[in-house]
């Protein structure tokens, strides 16, 4: 069994009165893709956001339990949230590049973390864009606005932007749901490449996608993890009836 990069124990989350996560225990192994599946509203995005504390920005949120990254509780009092988020980068459902040039988008992260040297930045920008498989498409227009790219390019740019801060974990919330099939397959290939260096947690509504790209799959239902196993087992040999119903499309 591969070592665990991140895990949660008895994780509960409330939005005011709404109990959105109910005692979630989940292990996310290193250099693997963990897919989170489940019907709309079951708490997948909420769970993902607890992993880099993006829920902190919502006033009504209360959290109990543990989220551990490399042996450290990320909700401990003395955690530096900016370092945590640098270490656990996030890619959102709809591409959200900043309204700046392609270069400045990628350089944003390194810059806020103190990198000023032009040569170093140039190098990070090129490497991140290469790693996100978009370098060839944008290398001649680095100074052009990022918002001029197509949706699929924008999403790969956003992945590159996350890579530029040299994260160890990548959290992706339905990164291909707004994209066409070709862009989607590019991003899926990319995820396959990236897992050599990163631990990836991805939310997806697309069962085939989960089956294709993930090593482990967790099935969420109403804020609970109903089943969590290797992807092969979850899809070919589900233990829980509800999992089977969901992946065969009988509900949700």
């Amino acid at each position: 069994m591969t070592p665990v990069k991140m895990h949660t124990r008895a994780l509960n989350l409330f939005y005011g009165e709404v109990h959105a996560l109910k005692g979630v225990d989940l292990d996310m192994p290193e250099q693997c893709v963990t897919a989170l599946i489940g019907p709309s509203g079951c708490g997948k995005s909420t769970f993902l956001k607890t992993l880099n504390r993006m829920n902190d920005t919502i006033a009504s949120v209360r959290i109990s339990g543990e989220v551990v990254l490399d042996g450290e509780d990320i909700y401990a009092k003395n955690v530096d949230v900016t370092t945590l988020r640098k270490k656990a980068g996030m890619v959102f459902q709809s591409p959200n590049p900043f309204p700046m040039s392609i270069y400045d988008n990628i350089a944003y992260g390194p810059r806020i973390h103190g990198e000023k040297k032009r040569i170093v930045l140039d190098e990070i920008v090129e490497q991140s864009l290469r790693d996100a498989a978009i370098w060839d498409e944008v290398k001649d227009r680095l100074k052009k606005p990022a918002l001029g790219l197509s949706g699929g390019q924008q999403q790969r740019l956003c992945i590159a932007r996350s890579l530029a801060t040299k994260p160890e974990v990548l959290l992706m919330d339905e990164p291909t749901s707004a994209l066409d099939p070709i862009s989607t397959s590019k991003i899926e290939e990319l995820i396959d490449e990236l897992k050599r260096d990163y631990s990836i947690v991805i939310v997806t509504h697309n069962m085939q996608q989960a089956a294709r790209i993930s090593d482990y799959t967790a099935f969420f239902l109403l804020g609970e993890v109903v089943e969590h196993n290797t992807t092969g087992d979850v899809f070919s040999n589900p233990k829980d009836r509800r999992t089977e119903d969901y992946i065969t499309g009988r509900f949700g």
Binding site: N52, M54, T57, T82, T83, L84, R85, K86, G89, M90, F92, S94, N96, P97, F98, P99, M100, Y108, G109, I112, H113, P145, L147, C158, R161, S162, T165
Partner: protein, 301 residues
């Protein structure tokens, strides 16, 4: 057979009411265009007379304003107006943007609502009230500085700048705040997810994204500052000499109401000429504003 609704109506497509309304709108539109054209022509013709008389350079670049001696150089007033406006905008812009950021992003809801009401109130106060308060409180406060610099007590360029800052702040704040609020929240979210602090996300992503709106606020403030007469007239001392921070200055706007009543002949034509110069300033500022808005629109696409 299914029922098909015909899209042809019995009546003519455009009703009479619609036609009449169209004509009314056309007339209103034309009226506004005609009045702007008329104003422009009138300003150019009446303001042009003095320039034809003295020559462009002696009028615009002359250092001496002495209507009694038939000397009509308005350079001191142009510079005073430009410096007062520039000074006011340079101070009000950063202050205004910071307040706008505070209102849009940082302050708790109730405080922001109260502050916004207060700022709207400020925007509605007649300028003569600002003039009064300036003359009563601000000008005497500056006396101390003038004494320290060995200058006589009087109104000053500094007082004009301070009054203008207070007067244009509400515009800059409310336009900037609207611009900042309209920046999609997802930019800030993305910035936070990259490990920005809240302030970094605001100042490195949200505020730059609101740039065109903020510039629009700045241009509007500039227009208001350069066109303001009453308040600055009451605090600036009104001497038509080359501007210095602690000495009295006369602004273009102030010169017209001050001298209007007793002017005649060439002197009055010179006041028209000043009006024309102001008119050109305002036009340029408006063109700039349009340009900024257009650019901003193009950027969002």
């Amino acid at each position: 057979m299914t029922n098909k609704t015909s899209i042809l109506s019995g009546r003519r497509t455009k009703s009479l009411v619609e036609r009449i309304m169209n004509i009314i709108f056309l007339v209103c539109g034309l009226a506004s265009v005609v009045s702007v054209v008329f104003m422009t022509v009138y300003m150019v013709v009446s303001g042009g007379a003095i320039i034809a008389e003295t020559g462009v350079f002696r009028f615009l670049l002359g250092h001496v304003w002495n209507p009694g001696g038939s000397e009509f150089g308005i350079l001191p007033m142009i510079l005073s107006s430009v410096l007062a406006t520039l000074g006011a905008v340079l101070i009000a812009l950063p202050v205004g943007v910071l307040i706008a950021v505070f209102l849009a992003k940082l302050s708790p809801g109730k405080l922001a609502t109260a502050m916004r009401a207060f700022i709207d109130l400020l925007a509605g106060i007649p300028s003569v009230i600002y003039g009064l308060l300036g003359a009563l409180l601000l000008v005497p406060a500056i006396f101390k500085l003038q004494a320290a610099a060995g200058l006589p007590n009087s109104g000053s360029l500094l007082a004009a700048i301070v009054i203008l800052v207070i007067m244009i702040l509400p515009t800059i704040i409310s336009v900037s705040e609207t611009a900042i609020r309209s920046v999609p929240k997802q930019y800030e979210e993305a910035a936070l997810a990259l490990g920005s602090t809240r302030l970094q996300a605001i100042f490195k992503v949200t505020v730059p994204a609101a740039k065109s709106g903020i510039v629009a606020g700045m241009v509007l403030g500039t227009g208001r500052a350069i066109g303001e007469a009453m308040a600055v007239m009451m605090v600036s001392g009104n001497a038509a000499i080359m501007p210095e921070l602690l000495r009295p200055v006369r602004l273009l706007t102030a010169a017209i109401p001050i001298e209007w009543a007793y002017s005649s002949g060439l002197h009055r034509q010179a006041l028209y000429g000043i009006g024309l110069v102001l008119f050109v300033f305002i036009m340029v500022i408006n063109l700039l504003l349009r340009q900024v808005m257009k650019k901003g629109g193009a950027q969002d696409e």
